[in-house]
């Protein structure tokens, strides 16, 4: 029997000890009429050899296209050491570190992670991860409601330039609690949030403002001004930032006059493979004064009975297993293993390495833009885009995507579905993984199709 070590002798001895005749007797408390039949719909068992072959075939079907899609998930080189270490059994197959003395590996690592994230964001405190960037943003909104006691409106402003699926996630997670969400439009010329649209809400009771950085279009928002707007308005400022780019960009803790209150975002660019969208992790950092309202686990350093330093889960009185209905969130299992990878990834790259990766993304992106312009195309012109940009097209985006796929290229994200205002446009992402000849191939393939 797969993964079951019992021999017939074991079984008999165990049944005798228990005092039943056969295993099925152990289920005698289940009413007979509820007993399940055979699971005919489930295929018959496979050996590891057979499932391996099947999965190789499935993997082969998907192939390894040259990928120019970002839109919330970014392709970066991950050092080989990262996942070789992460999948060591002791990290891979451990549970949440509830027994601190038997979990110092995981606990120290999380403490190191917290240190790195607070450094990247220039914030006071970090938790040990939430599910992903989108749900972390929703948690940040809920946290803002708890933190901003002065605000009674439960009214949150979301720029329309924030990733659309983040907005949807915030809606799904926050609306059951009666939170009001309003969206702020953006300028179609610059791709940035429209301050005149925001001005409408000035002097209103706005609980929090969410500030994406960079935004869904790859464009850098005027984060200082946005933060100041929140500060001036008595609103909690929530940043949603790509943590990789914070190696070269002003960190949320330094935005505006006093810095962001709650910094969240998608941790994926820091060591998680694209992997069809997960597992990634949401990071969350905050100002010191907000710590007790932060959801998720936190690791603290302390001493043991011998006075020796070590690490434990701390401030657990915020969590569901202690506070139950009064917890800051229902989150329990988080994305620990990805945090493990991410911590190792950040350790390997360091400040310099992350900055080089970010810089190379920036350079490559602008290089592709130049090449496209040289061919007569007109990417959305903003010097303020980072590693993604809007490319308006004169053929339907979905057809372009199909045609490029035939050549083994994932051309970009079809922006038109979420933003009908761009009637046919791709959101194109270029990271450090692309060589100049990749860019040339992209341009040539695209131009060939467009000029058909």
């Amino acid at each position: 029997m797969p993964f079951i070590p019992h021999t017939e002798t074991d079984i008999q001895a165990m049944l005798a000890t228990i005092g039943v005749a056969d295993i099925d007797d152990l289920f005698d408390e289940i009413p007979e009429n509820l007993r399940a039949g055979e699971m005919h719909d489930i295929p018959t068992m496979m050996s590891e050899m057979d499932i391996s072959r099947l999965m190789m075939q499935r993997a082969h079907l998907d192939g390894l296209p040259l990928n120019f899609i970002g839109a919330g998930a970014y392709e970066h080189h991950i050092p080989a050491a990262v996942w070789q270490l992460t999948t060591r059994g002791e990290f891979y197959s451990a549970y949440t570190p509830y027994q601190a003395e038997a979990s110092q590996g995981t606990l120290q690592l999380i403490y190191e992670f917290q240190t790195m994230m607070t450094d990247l964001t220039a914030m006071d405190a970090s938790n040990a991860s939430l599910y992903d960037g989108a749900s972390a943003t929703a948690e940040a909104v809920l946290m803002a409601i708890r933190v901003n006691r002065k605000s009674k409106s439960r009214h949150i402003l979301l720029p329309k330039s924030l990733n659309p699926v983040y907005r949807k996630t915030i809606r799904a997670i926050c609306e059951p609690q009666g939170i009001k969400l309003s969206e702020i439009s953006f300028s179609q010329q610059t791709g940035k949030t429209d301050f005149s649209a925001l001005a409408e809400y000035s002097k209103q009771d706005i609980t929090a403002l969410v500030i994406p950085q960079i935004n869904f279009f790859g464009v850098i928002e005027e984060f200082d001004e946005l933060t100041q707007w929140a500060e001036d308005n008595g609103s909690i400022a929530i940043s949603v930032a790509n943590p990789l780019l914070l190696s070269v960009m002003k960190p949320p803790g330094e935005w505006g006059r006093q810095g962001i209150d709650i910094a969240v975002g998608e941790g994926q660019p820091l060591g998680a493979p694209l992997s069809s969208g997960g597992p990634y992790y949401g990071y969350m950092c905050c100002k010191k004064k907000h710590i007790r309202q932060m959801p998720g686990r936190i690791v603290g350093r302390t001493t043991d009975a011998d006075g020796k330093q070590g690490f434990v889960l701390t401030l657990q009185a915020r969590e569901q297993h202690i506070r139950r209905s009064k917890a800051t969130s229902n989150i329990c299992t988080n994305q620990g293993l990805v945090v493990t990878a991410s911590t190792i990834h950040m350790s390997l790259l360091g400040e310099e390495g992350l900055a080089r990766v970010a810089s190379q993304c920036y350079k490559n992106t602008h290089l592709l833009q130049e090449k496209l312009i040289a061919c007569g195309l007109t990417p959305l012109q903003s010097g303020d885009c980072f590693h993604e940009f809007i490319l308006p097209l004169d053929k339907p985006a979905n057809e372009v995507i199909d045609a490029m796929a035939e050549e083994g290229i994932s051309a970009g994200y079809n922006l038109s579905e979420d933003y009908p205002e761009f009637d046919s446009a791709l959101l194109v992402c270029v990271t450090e993984t692309k060589s100049e000849s990749d860019l040339d191939w992209y341009v040539a393939t695209l131009i060939r199709y467009l000029s058909q």
């Binding site: 070590p5 998930a73 050491a81 330093q309 994305q335 360091g350 303020d384």
Partner: protein
């Protein structure tokens, strides 16, 4: 004899850092050049606490750190409610095939049929084991699955204009995520008692339900480790007042192939694939809290599920499930975890599935019997264990001052991870013990021997327990200090 401290071993990664050191091959060689990026956007403060280390230092540091963990791959880990069973290594390697890792979540259909077909089949298999009508794989862990479930209950009532339902009923024995979830969905939580046998108090339930009842969150077998026999009656009571039943499927290991939540009358269920379906817990996650629903909740499932249209697999669009509770995360769930679960389920197959619960039950009942025979008190001596059971050390705490925590810490010295302690909250000084089906009889016997030895120590040499653990990297921690003198990041 003297153990000199190796300076290298207990350092933080930051202490290996030196300015300008780096893992040279791990980043582009080209110098940093941000061209025309406006100065106002740029970072000025330096990153002091990102380590500057060599590749070997990182590898050595984290290899050593890993060795400080207990894990399934190294120890018996009978943590109740957590189903710490073997995580097959093939699931890991097959989830990490290059194409699987490289696939973008928005990859065009041409580059997606392999992955999506696995997900589609996984949905089908989960239908089958739960007896539900629809499955969404998007929730990222049990708690998010609960959220999805309760949000669907809410959406259902709202769609029926049934807006007076403001309460969710939760048994006092429930996992903490249950009440926390109900609150996140904007409900009030009404707790109901458990009776002496570990069952829901039917009279209390009857008294609690009413037109204000949106639903009840249950798990069966309950966190007390016993099967709720009157489940049909409970379902009827709740359904009769118009409420819906939510099943916390964290404990499906107990009943896989034996009884299906759908058949018990549940309307919605979440599954912890990182427990029953053996994906790793990774020192805290990631998990997967896939949800299954009855017919009437189908319109509300979180999007996107995987659909098949004319032989092509696709993620459904929002428009295809307009009444969905929506997106719970950016993409479509923890794909890497889902692949691991898929591979595991295909390896078990229909034959293996039912063996899981049979041997989980065999191990739990055997261990329970042996501990009872050895003089330990069971919380529910009259009941069968399901996949787990509870020992209460109330007597030992009273007589010898040997608490559940003391037993837990001392077990580490014997090379066993501790069972879950002090949960469920209503059993004093309890250990919730779940051996899982993948442990061999002799390893369970070893655990029993350790428990007996500790019991003896409790009677004769209580300091051995009180001071434990003695053999780990650290002795027992000062948790109060941790919370009071908050030190949650390293500062040079």
């Amino acid at each position: 004899m003297s153990k000199p401290s190796n300076s290298m071993n207990d350092k933080l990664i930051f202490e290996h850092s030196r300015q300008n050191r780096r893992a040279y091959s791990q980043a582009p060689f080209e110098e940093i050049d941000l061209g025309e990026l406006p100065i106002r956007f740029r970072r000025k403060s330096s990153l002091k606490h990102l380590p500057a280390t060599s590749e070997m230092q990182v590898v050595r540091h984290y290899t050593r750190l890993s060795q400080k963990n207990f894990s399934i791959d190294t120890e018996f880990y009978p943590l109740g409610s957590c189903t710490m069973k073997y995580n097959p290594r093939a699931c890991n390697s097959l989830a990490m095939l290059p194409q699987m890792l490289a696939r973008h979540p928005y990859a065009p259909e041409q580059f997606s049929q392999g992955f999506l077909s696995c997900m589609y089949e996984l949905q089908q298999m989960l239908h089958s084991v739960t007896g539900m009508h629809g499955v969404s794989l998007t929730p990222m862990a049990g708690a998010q699955g609960e959220f999805a479930g309760v949000a669907m209950i809410q959406a259902y009532h709202r769609a029926n204009n049934d807006t007076a339902r403001t309460e969710i009923i939760v048994p006092d024995a429930a996992h903490g995520t249950n009440p926390a979830t109900a609150i996140m969905c904007g409900y009030k939580v009404k707790e109901i008692r458990t009776n002496r046998n570990g069952d829901v108090d039917i009279e209390a339930l009857k008294a609690a339900v009413g037109p204000q009842t949106a639903g009840i969150m249950l798990t069966n077998p309950s966190t007390l480790g016993v099967f709720e026999k009157k489940i049909k009656e409970i379902a009827d009571i709740v359904h009769q007042v118009g409420g819906l039943l939510y099943y916390d499927g964290a404990n499906l290991n107990a009943i896989l192939g034996k009884v299906r939540p759908g058949d018990m009358g549940f309307d919605v269920i979440h599954l912890n694939l990182h427990k029953t379906f053996s994906t790793p817990h990774g020192g805290g996650g990631p998990g997967s809290g896939a949800v299954g629903v009855s017919k009437r909740l189908l319109p509300y499932m979180p999007v996107p599920t995987v659909i098949q249209e004319e032989g092509v697999y696709r993620l459904e669009t929002d428009a295809q499930r307009p009444n969905s509770i929506g997106h719970l995360s950016a993409f479509a769930g923890n794909a890497g975890v889902l692949i691991r679960a898929y591979v595991y389920m295909r390896m078990l197959g229909r034959e293996g599935m039912v063996r899981v619960s049979e041997f989980a039950a065999l191990n739990a009942n055997y261990l329970m019997t042996r501990l009872a025979d050895a003089g330990f008190d069971l919380a529910f001596p009259e009941r069968r264990a399901s996949h787990e059971f509870i020992v209460t050390l109330k007597r030992q705490a009273k007589e010898h001052n040997a608490t559940a925590m003391d037993f837990a810490k001392r077990l580490l010295d014997f090379g066993y991870h501790a069972p879950t302690t002090y949960f469920p909250l209503l059993i004093p000084e309890c250990l919730l013990i779940e051996p899982t089906e993948t442990e061999a009889k002799e390893d369970i016997d070893g655990f029993v021997e350790a428990m007996i030895a500790i019991l003896k120590e409790a009677e004769t040499d209580i300091d051995k327990l009180k001071g434990a653990p003695w053999t780990q990297a650290n002795r027992r921690f000062d948790e109060v200090k941790a919370a009071r003198q908050l030190d949650i990041k390293w500062v040079e």
